[in-house]
């Protein structure tokens, strides 16, 4: 009996171990890409089969060899310098009463605000993470001390011991707490907390620095109807509004300090009107990344003269933006959501509907256009519909605190519009800038345009922003009295509007007939005032300030629908997204904002509908039907498995237009290898013998990788992460192409040092509202700004050996309910907004790839939209990069169904890779379907995906090391071998113990 129990127990142990090892093995295999990337394991190696190759480092770092510690040190230093430069030139000084800044002669300061000791260096999302104390991170206190300030230690240490935290802490099961960001309640200590340290203030009273932080996250927007702090408003308030503890803090600080400086550690536009009552100076610093605080300290002490400008409008009430009605935390459900779920299944994620009632009027395009119409007395613009609560009429001065493009300097500049040359394709403006103050500084030249809004536009529902940025430039450091002439070149395409009725209803871009204006200005509002002045309007008409007509230029155009009618290769640009208009499905269901009638079209309530049976059928996501003329599977498969002797090195200079050679290259594969070319994950698998496994970068404002050579810091060997740069609104806010392009260069360098083929990290989406949880990753509220900045960044990055892949293509402008949210809009708004924002990066700069969005265009998931991925990207734009879904994980066997898992539809739409599918599950399912249904069309699409993928790989650092005689050998990672051995050994031992148990029982029975 004793032995029976021993064998019984041992059998249990080994059997349990076997089960754990088996399932663990399956789990590990499914997540192999992540494990390999974390362990730095490469599952393939290059073996030279010919003579010793010459230099095969096709993509070199500008800093030296990738195995040189010295070169790596230079690369890291350059990246960190870029990070600081972004803050130096991107932080926007919003207010500077009595020139309180720079804090000259000030040495002893008190720093307030929970955000001072717990700043958001970035928000939770992909990419490198900087945090206080981590490698290369400079916290605010260190930066201030390096900048010559003495910081009140008592207060600082008190703050470190404080209890404030961003977001609501939720008690989870098992005692786990999880911070849900998006709320500002409880994010600041209360007044009583600060009173504890009151005795220390007198000694450090030269100035008070107050840090306020707002932080969203991937999957979490800032809350539109937030709670206030304890004792505050019982009514919901915006998360961007000042909360009670913050107000109390400002009040206390104002009472005790002569100089109060507020730092806005938030990429989202805080409501600043109350802050202005208490502060002497306000500096917008966004998220600083690793070392941006150094730039902040340099601005505070005057080493650097701020020259950054806002890339978003700071409204008095963030909820006054028309886009807030149907988005973010206020996104409505379909009225018949239960019916939808019962009909197509909840896994289709078709519950939420975001009707983009705002039309083209996002950010300043709303506030400034409405202002212009109010001045001109048009479109019921002065009606109180959409005005601040209780207002009798809509008044710009009440509605807007700081306009797009706003930012102060420690000096003054005078800008003169010298000349404008209107060419066939480009317009060039020459602007002379003179430093009229007594401090050296840089000045931004902002060039805006107004295009005609006449009867044609009203009749054809072509909306126009009264002002839109079309170009910018920045001076060098101008000494007092010095001048510089800046030339700004504008692509006339940016003046065109999308008219859904043009070309006999086929749609297309038009140049409107009438007067066009270009204007320079200190910001969008100033430029608009200059245009209005040229049109004869004055403060008597309600202008907030008199404009200067000499700062504008007028010319006339006649109607033209031909100039931009055709895209790449002569493909006509035409309507593709009519079914994304809600009224296409349900007549009269939604009203889009129009400047023709602000009062009648401003959205005052949420828009939702009952999804009809026809709509549900499309929401279901299954539309693929084998084309009648599809070739047979065998026909398409026949040329495969033929060796041509081509390898990555052979292909690195072969253009895509050489189809024959690319096909010969791909035909060396077995068809069963093709799905591996659709697998994108932390570590992408090898594709047959053609390309090895490799890692990719992810995360805007960084690539998320590590430098390869460990360094010694304080006697400890550490791995250095790639740099987390400033949040995108800071980078874009530099209005400096050199800095923006160098961001691209450094991201490419970071990618190459991390051996990343491609980086999903150029955030081109719009700040549709001020509440976007990923506003920190995206460039601005203005599509043209994103077009211009994105183009500069991506062009520079594509010159390195690590590709840029903008994301999230397209329209990922909210985080709450982003999974499958059905977005409805006008084609004009989509093309001039969401698409334009990516067009610079993708079409103009020829990005190596893109990552798509979780949202739906109308009823179809972005990734399954043929109109988007084939008609626009491939046909109209002529773009050949790799198209990747957003996360559509597959671990092991792929199961068709659920809105991310309609693999045939996604591939047929033009999407080619599935993100977080490191096993090629989606592609394998498509291959099997193609085989089962004898569908050569699907097999052809898999082949095209492989060409696209291999093309990108051949133009990247992954091709380094290959000669034309090199081959790839696959390696099984050690952990996979270990898990297999563990499974087998535990299984054998379990069986052996079980056998012994049975024998013991037999023996025991015999003995009895």
């Amino acid at each position: 009996m004793k032995h029976e129990k021993l064998w019984s127990g041992l059998t249990s142990i080994f059997a349990v171990l076997m089960v754990i090892a088996m399932i663990g093995n399956t789990l590990a295999t499914a997540n192999a890409s992540y494990i390999n990337s974390q362990l730095g394991i490469n599952t393939a190696r290059v073996v030279e089969k010919g003579t010793a190759p010459t230099d095969t480092t096709y993509y070199k770092s500008q800093f030296g060899a990738f195995d040189s510690a010295d070169a790596q040190a230079k690369a890291i230093a350059a990246a960190l310098e870029q990070n600081v430069n972004e803050m130096r030139e991107g932080a926007a000084l919003l207010m500077n009463k009595d020139s309180v800044l720079p804090l000259k002669g000030v040495t002893k300061i008190s720093v307030f605000g929970h955000g001072a000791v717990d700043p958001a260096y970035q928000a939770a999302s992909a990419g490198t993470k900087a945090k206080t104390g981590s490698v290369n991170t400079i916290d605010l206190k260190t930066a201030l001390e390096n900048g010559g300030f003495q910081v009140n230690e008592t207060l600082w240490n008190g703050l470190l011991a404080g209890t404030a935290a961003r977001g609501v802490m939720q008690q989870g099961w098992g005692g786990m707490t999880m911070a849900v960001t998006g709320s500002a309640a409880g994010s600041e200590e209360n007044r009583a907390f600060y009173e504890q340290f009151a005795d220390s203030y007198a000694e450090y009273s030269d100035a008070a620095i107050v840090v306020f932080t707002r932080e969203g996250a991937e999957g979490t927007d800032l809350i539109m109807q937030d709670k206030d702090d304890e004792g505050g408003s019982t009514e919901p308030i915006s998360a961007l509004a000042l909360h009670k503890n913050e107000r109390d803090l400002l009040e206390m600080v104002r009472e005790r300090f002569g100089k109060v400086v507020v730092l806005l550690n938030s990429p989202n536009q805080m409501e600043v009107h109350e802050i202005k009552e208490y502060a002497d100076a306000i500096l917008f610093i966004g998220f600083p990344g690793h070392q941006g605080f150094t730039g902040v300290a340099e601005i505070l002490n005057g080493t650097v003269n701020p020259s950054g400008k806002l890339v978003d409008t700071y409204a008095t009430s963030s909820l006054s933006a028309p886009a807030t009605v149907n988005s973010g935390t206020e996104t409505p459900l379909f009225m018949n959501v239960d019916e939808i779920n019962n009909t197509i299944g909840a896994d289709e994620r078709a519950e939420y509907i975001s009707f983009q009632a705002e039309n083209i009027y996002i950010g300043y395009r709303y506030y400034e256009t409405r202002y212009a119409d109010a001045v001109m007395g048009k479109g019921n613009a002065s009606s109180n519909v959409g005005a601040l609560k209780g207002a009798e009429s809509w008044k710009y001065a009440d509605e807007v605190q700081y306009p797009f493009g706003y930012g102060l300097s420690y000096t003054t500049f005078e800008q003169t519009l010298d000349s404008v040359t209107v060419g066939e394709d480009e317009i060039t403006a020459s602007v002379t800038v003179k430093n009229t103050g007594d401090v050296a500084g840089k000045s931004v030249v902002q060039l805006y345009a107004q295009t005609p809004y006449g009867q044609y536009e009203i009749d054809h529902r072509v909306e126009k922003s009264a002002i839109a940025i079309v170009g910018f430039g920045k001076t060098g450091l101008l000494q007092p009295g010095a001048s510089e002439t800046v030339k700004v070149t504008v692509d006339r395409y940016l003046l065109a509007s999308y008219d859904m009725t043009a070309n006999d209803g086929q749609g297309g871009y038009i140049l409107s007939e009438g007067d066009y204006y270009l204007a320079i200005g200190d910001d969008a509002h100033d430029a608009l005032n200059n245009v209005l002045a040229a049109q004869g309007y004055t403060v008597d008409n309600g202008m907030t300030a008199a404009g200067v007509s000499a700062k504008s230029y007028k010319w006339t155009e006649s109607f033209n629908s031909e100039k931009y009618r055709y895209g790449a290769n002569g493909v006509a640009v035409s309507n593709q997204f009519q079914d994304c208009d809600l009224n296409y499905w349900v007549e009269g269901a939604g009203t889009y904002l129009s400047r023709n009638d602000w009062a009648g079209t401003y959205p005052v309530s949420k828009t939702t509908v009952n999804a009809t049976a026809e709509m549900m059928d499309i929401l279901d996501g299954e539309w693929y039907v084998k084309p009648e003329d599809a070739p047979s599977f065998a026909e398409v498969a026949a040329p495969f498995e033929v060796q041509s002797g081509l390898n990555l090195a052979s292909m690195k200079d072969i253009p895509l237009s050489d189809r024959d050679t690319w096909e010969k290259f791909i035909y060396q594969l077995k068809v069963d290898d093709l799905p591996m070319a659709t697998a994108e994950s932390f570590s992408c698998p090898a594709v047959g013998e053609l390309s090895p496994s490799f890692a990719v970068g992810d995360g805007c404002d960084s690539v998320g990788g590590n430098y390869p050579i460990p360094v010694t810091i304080n006697g400890e060997e550490v791995t250095v992460p790639t740099t987390r740069y400033c949040s995108n609104p800071i980078m874009t806010g530099t209005f400096n192409y050199d800095i923006i392009a160098n961001r691209g260069t450094m991201l490419g360098e970071d990618g190459m040092w991390s051996k990343f083929m491609i980086n999903y990290n150029v955030g081109n989406d719009l700040h549709r509202t001020p509440f976007g949880g990923r506003s920190f990753e995206y460039m601005s509220e203005c599509p043209t700004m994103n077009y211009l900045a994105g183009r500069a960044e991506v062009e520079a990055m594509e010159k390195t050996g690590s590709h840029a892949a903008p994301k999230h293509f397209v329209g990922n402008d909210q985080e709450f309910y982003r999974d499958g949210v059905a977005c409805f809009f006008t084609e004009q708004a989509f093309r001039e907004g969401n698409l334009r924002a990516f067009e610079g990066s993708v079409r103009m700069a020829n990005a190596g790839g893109i990552m798509q969005s979780f949202s739906r265009l109308g009823l179809k998931w972005n990734s399954a939209s043929y109109a988007l991925n084939t008609q626009v990207l491939r046909n109209e734009w002529g773009w050949n990069g790799a198209i990747d879904t957003d996360a559509a994980p597959c671990f092991g066997e792929y199961v068709d169904g659920g809105y991310r898992n309609h693999a045939a539809e996604v591939l047929a739409a033009g999407t080619q890779e599935w993100c977080l599918d490191g096993v090629g599950g989606h592609g394998t399912w498509v291959l099997n379907k193609a085989r089962e249904t004898n569908d050569g069309h699907l097999l052809n699409l898999l082949k095209e995906a492989a060409i696209s993928w291999e093309y990108a790989i051949s133009r990247s650092v992954i091709a380094n090391g290959y000669s034309s005689t090199a081959v790839i050998e696959h390696i099984t990672p050690w952990w996979a071998t270990a898990l297999n051995v563990l499974t087998i050994c535990s299984g054998v031992l379990a069986l052996a113990c079980l056998a012994m148990l049975i024998l013991s029982k037999i023996k025991s029975r015999k003995a009895k």
């Binding site: 009996m1 029976e4 129990k5 021993l6 064998w7 019984s8 127990g9 059998t11 249990s12 142990i13 059997a15 349990v16 089960v19 754990i20 399932i23 663990g24 399956t26 789990l27 997540n31 939770a124 999302s125 939720q170 989870g172 099961w173 098992g174 005692g175 786990m176 999880m178 911070a179 960001t181 996250a217 991937e218 999957g219 979490t220 985080e815 996360a887 559509a888 994980p889 991310r900 977080l916 079980l994 148990l997 029982k1001």
Partner: protein
């Protein structure tokens, strides 16, 4: 009652822990957590096997103990595996493809389940009733 040995009490504790796991799984599933039907079947089998041990030492008791432990291990690993994104996203403070708000339940489930596996293994080393 006097005849009951330590194995009986260990099996009883395992049984209770398995029932707690079942209740947690039902709640977890109702909140959107992924639970495959086979997991419920395995858990039911584990409860039955451990409950059978409560009948005292029988010729088949050793085999049901082993089966119970194995079934619990299957439940533990499968639920953990299916909930891996809940945990990964909670740790990173993001919401992507999992349900990070359920990560706490994943931890709790894993904890209770591991405790059940340990007591099940211990029970299989011991007699359920005195000779």
């Amino acid at each position: 009652m006097k005849k009951k040995s330590i194995g009986f009490y260990l099996a009883a504790v395992t049984c209770v822990l398995a029932v707690v796991t079942l209740v947690l799984l039902i709640v977890y599933h109702s909140r959107g957590g992924v639970v495959q039907p086979a997991v419920f079947a395995a858990l039911a089998a584990a409860i039955l096997c451990e409950a059978a041990s409560l009948l005292g030492e029988k010729p088949w008791t050793d085999f049901t103990s082993i089966l119970g432990a194995v079934a619990l291990a299957y439940v533990c690993m499968t639920v953990f595996s299916d909930g891996i994104w809940n945990i990964a996203e909670a740790m990173n403070g993001i919401k992507m493809v999992g349900l990070p708000e359920l990560a706490g339940m994943n931890y709790t489930l894993a904890g209770v389940n591991v405790a059940a596996i340990i007591t099940a293994i211990a029970a299989s080393f011991t007699r359920k009733s005195k000779a």
